[in-house]
Symmetry: C2
Subunit: 192 residues, 2 copies
């Protein structure tokens, strides 16, 4: 897998304001268990070779939904193809990272970097002069549904029994909800 | 069904800052469809007589998770039984409302009232002198998981076929995600 443009997971990142204790509490809030950790790793086996296909589905949805694709507007207000493509590469990689990385301090630091890229430093990484200055919080939360629902058919392609597919899907839902909770930090530091 | 303490759905509420256009966009973001509307009504038939049992499950989880129950702390820092009980009544009613009400301007106004009760006017409705001044945004988002996952066994008790249970569960997930997206507004009005 080539390194996507602007992907800096392995860089020397500033520590997240989110503590490992905050993380443990969030894991409790999403009912995270050891079984989920196992199921998410198995999901990673299945999803890693399919990230391009998954992004075809997600970008098909975003591209056909004007208020969502507007986040990718370039200077003239039309979708910026280079911006879309750069984000796509990192989005694919996010699927792999979510399923395969340990949820540790470095992982927290990169989640905060992603959170900044949705808010205070949106457009910076890809050098885009976009009228969209942040990803709206409400849609970040709402997109939990498509990102959960559309992954199930891919999980079903792994040849696992129905109970294992259910377990992988639930673990995926918990993990994506956890990341959106983490990404919400810069939107409301005082009430987070 | 008796009217819970502090439940003001039928009051003359201030209009929500969230427009019906915002609502339509959010419905698109959660992939809402006519099938979901039908499935959610059917879910309401099943869940309405079970709200007390569902809250037993949710409060069992919250009560055994210190950072969640701390939201219900009274003056001395210990959980306030009267506060827990008053919120419980409205929480039960929220299940019914979510499944049975039309998503219209008045519904939006009450979602905003709920959002204020999590933030700017927390504790006011129940006259509690609590050290907890807001529901943390991160846990509001994270609780989407337990509120989704734990409802499925109840939906399965309605005697519907597996496809209908799946459809009801997906509609429920979409609806609860929609409400959390709406409830996030006072946390970040500028970036919402």
């Amino acid at each position: 897998m080539t390194t996507p443009s602007g992907y800096t997971y392995d860089a020397d990142l500033p520590a997240s304001p989110v503590s490992t204790r905050d993380l443990q509490e969030l894991l409790a809030s999403v009912m995270w268990s050891e079984d989920d950790a196992v199921a998410l790793r198995r999901a990673g086996d299945i999803l890693t070779p399919k990230t391009h296909e998954i992004l075809d589905v997600w970008y098909g949805f975003v591209g056909s939904t004007p208020h969502l694709v507007s986040v990718f507007a370039g200077k003239g207000g039309q979708p910026d193809a280079g911006y879309l493509e750069a984000v796509r590469g990192r989005f694919e990689r996010w699927i792999v990272d979510l399923c395969t990385r340990d949820f540790d301090e470095h992982w927290l630091a990169y989640q905060q970097e992603i959170a900044r890229r949705h808010t205070t430093k949106k457009n910076e990484t890809d050098h885009v002069d976009s009228p969209s200055r942040h990803v709206p919080l409400r849609h970040l939360i709402a997109l939990l549904v498509p990102v959960t629902v559309t992954v199930r058919p891919f999980l079903e392609q792994g040849g696992d029994d129905a109970a294992t597919v259910d377990a992988m899907h639930t673990a995926w839902q918990k993990a994506v909800t956890l990341t959106v909770a983490l990404w919400s930090q810069p939107y409301s530091p005082e009430l987070w």
